[in-house]
Subunit: 253 residues, 8 copies
Amino acid sequence: MNKTTLLELLAQVQSGTLTPTAATERLANLPYEDLGHARIDHHRSLRTGLPEVIYAQNKSPEQTTEIFTRMAASGIDVLATRVDASTALRVTAALPTAIYNQQARTITLRQTSPGDPKGHIAILTAGTSDQPVAEEAAVTAELFNTRVTRLYDVGVAGLHRLLDVRDQLAEADVVIVCAGMEGALPSVVGGLVGVPVIAVPTSVGYGASFDGAAALLGMLNSCSPNVTVVNIDNGFGAAYTAVLIARAASARG
Amino acid sequence: MNKTTLLELLAQVQSGTLTPTAATERLANLPYEDLGHARIDHHRSLRTGLPEVIYAQNKSPEQTTEIFTRMAASGIDVLATRVDASTALRVTAALPTAIYNQQARTITLRQTSPGDPKGHIAILTAGTSDQPVAEEAAVTAELFNTRVTRLYDVGVAGLHRLLDVRDQLAEADVVIVCAGMEGALPSVVGGLVGVPVIAVPTSVGYGASFDGAAALLGMLNSCSPNVTVVNIDNGFGAAYTAVLIARAASARG
Amino acid sequence: MNKTTLLELLAQVQSGTLTPTAATERLANLPYEDLGHARIDHHRSLRTGLPEVIYAQNKSPEQTTEIFTRMAASGIDVLATRVDASTALRVTAALPTAIYNQQARTITLRQTSPGDPKGHIAILTAGTSDQPVAEEAAVTAELFNTRVTRLYDVGVAGLHRLLDVRDQLAEADVVIVCAGMEGALPSVVGGLVGVPVIAVPTSVGYGASFDGAAALLGMLNSCSPNVTVVNIDNGFGAAYTAVLIARAASARG
Amino acid sequence: MNKTTLLELLAQVQSGTLTPTAATERLANLPYEDLGHARIDHHRSLRTGLPEVIYAQNKSPEQTTEIFTRMAASGIDVLATRVDASTALRVTAALPTAIYNQQARTITLRQTSPGDPKGHIAILTAGTSDQPVAEEAAVTAELFNTRVTRLYDVGVAGLHRLLDVRDQLAEADVVIVCAGMEGALPSVVGGLVGVPVIAVPTSVGYGASFDGAAALLGMLNSCSPNVTVVNIDNGFGAAYTAVLIARAASARG
Amino acid sequence: MNKTTLLELLAQVQSGTLTPTAATERLANLPYEDLGHARIDHHRSLRTGLPEVIYAQNKSPEQTTEIFTRMAASGIDVLATRVDASTALRVTAALPTAIYNQQARTITLRQTSPGDPKGHIAILTAGTSDQPVAEEAAVTAELFNTRVTRLYDVGVAGLHRLLDVRDQLAEADVVIVCAGMEGALPSVVGGLVGVPVIAVPTSVGYGASFDGAAALLGMLNSCSPNVTVVNIDNGFGAAYTAVLIARAASARG
Amino acid sequence: MNKTTLLELLAQVQSGTLTPTAATERLANLPYEDLGHARIDHHRSLRTGLPEVIYAQNKSPEQTTEIFTRMAASGIDVLATRVDASTALRVTAALPTAIYNQQARTITLRQTSPGDPKGHIAILTAGTSDQPVAEEAAVTAELFNTRVTRLYDVGVAGLHRLLDVRDQLAEADVVIVCAGMEGALPSVVGGLVGVPVIAVPTSVGYGASFDGAAALLGMLNSCSPNVTVVNIDNGFGAAYTAVLIARAASARG
Amino acid sequence: MNKTTLLELLAQVQSGTLTPTAATERLANLPYEDLGHARIDHHRSLRTGLPEVIYAQNKSPEQTTEIFTRMAASGIDVLATRVDASTALRVTAALPTAIYNQQARTITLRQTSPGDPKGHIAILTAGTSDQPVAEEAAVTAELFNTRVTRLYDVGVAGLHRLLDVRDQLAEADVVIVCAGMEGALPSVVGGLVGVPVIAVPTSVGYGASFDGAAALLGMLNSCSPNVTVVNIDNGFGAAYTAVLIARAASARG
Amino acid sequence: MNKTTLLELLAQVQSGTLTPTAATERLANLPYEDLGHARIDHHRSLRTGLPEVIYAQNKSPEQTTEIFTRMAASGIDVLATRVDASTALRVTAALPTAIYNQQARTITLRQTSPGDPKGHIAILTAGTSDQPVAEEAAVTAELFNTRVTRLYDVGVAGLHRLLDVRDQLAEADVVIVCAGMEGALPSVVGGLVGVPVIAVPTSVGYGASFDGAAALLGMLNSCSPNVTVVNIDNGFGAAYTAVLIARAASARG
């Protein structure tokens, strides 16, 4: 559904040709756009108020570019994750205002004017190497219009580094913790804060880390009950849920 | 810290013997009660406003009873999870107002007067067999003073059962989904709602379910970005985080 | 066994030199062609009425080309799967009428004149990234002379996409479902149709997908009893069995 | 939906109050019966023409008995699988015509008069110990009105035992193979027949069989392309799909 | 080799009948005592100055009793680990001065007069449930004549509990940390102390703890470089190595 | 096939009624005895000259007894492995000359008069707890008429115990090594001898031994090239192959 | 130890300067050659009568070349396995008579004059792709002076291919079976022959073959008792043990 | 904290401006240096007397160079591990006195004047291929000012090689054993020495070594109680703990 279609529909509502109820119905049931290889769900964005997102990893550069361009055409914000450099080149050539973040491996296209950020997310890393995953989360949360505080390299082997940022932690509505190796940081953070902690195991480590499986298991067995977990390296997913929580919380004050 | 100690402390504040700042400090640093085998953290309850919780599974009946009784002595609400029948007998003998829920395997002791419930959690199961885990979550959420809607046996193989409860789902601030076997339900529910979904894999299944590992992996790989995951059969943990989210959300209206 | 040999044999039957029983015996026991590294089983094709198939993945380009050429010499249809670009170049150079499908990684050589397609297979994918596996299945089924309906990108996180193709699903004699990540789609499809569903886990995903193992486990634990499973990324195997089922079913009308 | 409701509905069709199309619609959307812990889907049986099935393993004896009784009340055939002796006692006390098969761990209740069997399934076991799983499949297929040929203890270490039953194999429309340990039998059978083979890994074995995982992996990696696989010990699921295939095939003649 | 034999041998040395070199040779090569099922290595105790140890888990009560009695006969201290109640009854009946510790599942027999303890080990647990493993370590270290400080229930989710015992930690020559679930405690402790930390994963937990495997993996991936790891629940092994380290360290002052 | 049948057949050969070729044919194709649940292969014993063997673990006591009795009726030696006490009672009641070995969990029935033992097998264990597996191997080898030397409790942590039996090792035609825990013994033994070593991982151990998987992996990765491996606890299989090797070797002298 | 050294030593024995006993002692204890990174064990070759072997996989080309050259200097036969092309180039440059077999990835240097081959090994593959592993075994066995019969591409899905080589199988003293995917071939072969079968799982396959783990597990669980197993792709190890068995057997005639 | 800051602080102590207690406090709490991506903990080095260490594996060359340079600026010794060649080029360009060890993959910068080495570590490898891991340990221990004895290629398949270095082993205060494949060496060494053994599994091996997991499991299950384990290929961690032990032990004399 492109913007024109949407505006025409809204015009019909304004003119009384279409009742609001009927319009809602049509919006909720508007057929997605069928590209053959992908079915773009334009009204999800309208329904949730969140940008469209493309997971680029197993798609060809051509597929990603086509989907991104179609989504952009509807005038909303667009995010692509897991984008390699060659795909990024192709997408930004097609859409020069789209921005590629090499560390986060994201392309973002901001087309709307968000107001003030809603809610506040603290994003922690145990070590420097967890930063790409944390940045994927941060870029996502910021495009989704949420305030982000980055607190990096505060792993548990040097506890004073974590204790020093305790005040900053206390201000967040929700905390994302990215950690590889033993994945112990979410449990410790979970004990320090009274808000939900979303744990992101990273594939940082070697040997018996089994590409992040050790960290994943550690986080699932956390003794802090306010910890939930997402897939290994899934910075985007952590941010998505964190945004939902932060928005709810931000309405409190 | 028992109630008397707390009151004396507050009296000192009232009389000006102690400044509020100093009192806050003391409360935050009050030594836990050391039972030798366990260190009870009384002020966690004061700090978070949530009941005290005992995980009884690997404790002896004597240990559970002693910890439960000490916690109860401070006048707050107490919850024990993973309680077998013989431990339950011993605890309820010591505290006759405590209630044992055999299916949920919980003991609850309500000693405070909560006001109206804050927030609303929908709890779903894929099948009848997932019910004990769902009930652990429900009992927890209710003791934590949150409204719970139970929507059981709505697994994906009979999609109309799920679609029929779509309206009830839409009212919840957060959704808990308990499922064993292939663990597909959270992904489907995640696509239907715009709020966080907490997925609880259950150990229901046989053969290649590997005691819930298949469901766990399925949920971690969910294609719905609003899904986060807790440990297998961890109904309590899911409820704990859900309560935090529901409380935040409930302040919106 | 090349065609000439076959014809001579049949001529002997016609002329009465050989009884039909004896001919059958000889056909069933005709020695395969021994290439040293491979023993080609020519009469399998005669027996089953299905094309010859080469699994090229662990073979050298030379080996694949030699086997393909020998099989082609007997005049029947030939299929090679898991063919990389350099092997494809070599085979198509030797046999210019053979067709390489880069996405499906197949080479097909049609040498017979099949009649009308027998039976009808619906092939579904959960996402765009599952398409190569689905195409391997589709190319196989079409060479085996079965009608194929492609229904791609209908994953469970956007349920309306699947429900929209429900009518098309209902017409199939058998359904192949290709899905990575959590592998939930076969269970949902299994609940919607009354025919066998063959589930193909794909290696699409990351982290705890463990290269398709998560999807595989999910499918094996499906709560829909009409779901059976093949190896990860095994589009060919799914199509082979689906063809057998579709042929049986097609005789019903 | 009980029989009365169904008859009233059909009466309305007869009298012209309801068109056949509308009736079909209502049948397909009739609400299931909600028991609190389970939602019985009565019209599945009407839609598929197959009996209702209860998976009893993770249900309490009370739950199984209640669901079985409700299903039986609608006048159709009912099957319960994974039934232990104490649950069986309770169900058969309530429904004296129900039959408990101790080896297969099934309860069957035949209430309809099926005509001649449709289709033909051969069920093989590698060893004596695989028999309970094979019997679960056989009981299921027979209640679903399909002809069953049992060919037990024909494992690959004594190949002549298998070759001796080759003629019986050749008559089947579909073959179910139950095997534990190395799970090699389905591959060998797959090479001998031209129909679909459904492989059921069993938990028979010790040590590195890892409760059937070795057999499962072996079957998933079968070099015979007509083999698909179900979960470990899932005799019921194998039979369910086999019945669908056999019915289709039986219409050929 | 019992004490008498040893003294006779030493007497021969004193009297010149045997050279010191020859005596050393004989001591080093003295045949162990062959019980048929076990070969007791008496001179290990002489060589290392540490008690004899029996791992009782996979032995029959008769075997354990026989080995324990033979070892005791040589006059040295004896330890048996993993002793169940019925075996304990039999051993203590034979040797009334032997002591059974039910929680630690050890039997100890003190027959020598050790001097002052050498070295100092701190033993920590994350939770109450890890205590049996910690006690196995403590009993071992104490029989081996090392000072033990028990610091139990100081898991990372309540960091203040751990920080409160920091002074006691600082006095130890080596630290043993027993933790199940996510196994995060050794990393945090490793960052707080400047001595070796021996991590003991415990089988405490459920679901994705996989009987201690999650804790084990976490500890192996510790970001603190002074952490080494022993097998799940191996309190004895941790204590054995800790004793060796503590003895070395105790000589410093 | 019992002995009488065999003799009659041979009589026919002698009298010229049957040619040797035809007799061979009949022997090779004699139908096994079909008990419904099991197909006994009587002529395997005739062909290999080895006793009949029953794996009793997953069979009912009735099944084991029936198969054992039928086998015994043909006059040959019979072995049953993995026999529990109650099954043993039933079998030995039916066949009073059969002997139950409780530690090895075997029943043996000697009905032939073997000549001198052929070949020589050394059987080693790393510890006392590996003895049941070693005894299963020893009982098997002895019934199969091979000389056995038992060398128990010679694990690698006390190397002198192993070096002391080096001379006995050197006399064997083949060595079986049973070890649990880290499974290191076969590698060390493999370096000491010039004959094949068959490694049997045992399920002795705890925690990260994962029921023998650690020992199994260790043995498969042995750096000694004369080591081959059988399944965990498979003393029988090790002995079976060892007997074949020892017989071949014994013919050398 | 080179040949000259050996002859000098033997000359001393002949002349009476050295007793045979003393010479034996010196031979058994001759220091290996210490290259810093490797300790070459020259007298192993003398003791076993088998060539020296280098496992090149984790060694640098320089290391492999140095070790190979030193071994060659002692005048015996030398074998290197897992040799990549660049290492081969370097070794054969240094030793022009050494032969590189690219498929088997071996370098062989024949410097002795072996007599007639001793014993007979049949080497089977399930498919064409297993050939490199089989060739590693064949090259090894042939250098070790054993007769080899290659029987390739006889997998179980086309049973007639295997049955056709039954006569050739029957002549072997020992059989090596190389198979990937489901690894079923050793069980079937084990049932056809009366000699030891050494199973080599290969890493041929995809998806749930897990790089050969599925085949490995299948072979370990073989229902044929004459099957033992080596590591995945370990053609060399299989041949080494097979040679020992074949030599013993060859002395029978 | 650079040296100047430190000296100024100490000057204040000398002049009486700052008490020793206050200075200690400030040293222990000095803020680390925050580089955005990393928080350098300068006073750890002061506190422990050990060099600063950078784990370079998951860091960009730029990050590693920046952190290394900052650490070097404080005048202490610096070590970087897991450094690839391109990173090494960049670091040594910035700091020409830093030394890159290609085999160990370390960069070391010696800026202090250590006195005599404290303590003595023996480092063993099972084979030539384990050398890189052993060298990482050796380089670490030497920079940390400990005496190192390298004993390489002494694997258990050739026991005499190990027994020959027994005297050198006996002199060490602690032993590090690096081994891949079956990982048996630590158990054997553990039985030969009376000091702690730190086992380092290496990723050397193939097939069922699963990249070092087999060796890791073997070592965790060691029957020698003086063995503790670190992560696969973690030479640095082994050396770090070994240094702590050796220092303690060295003070004994």
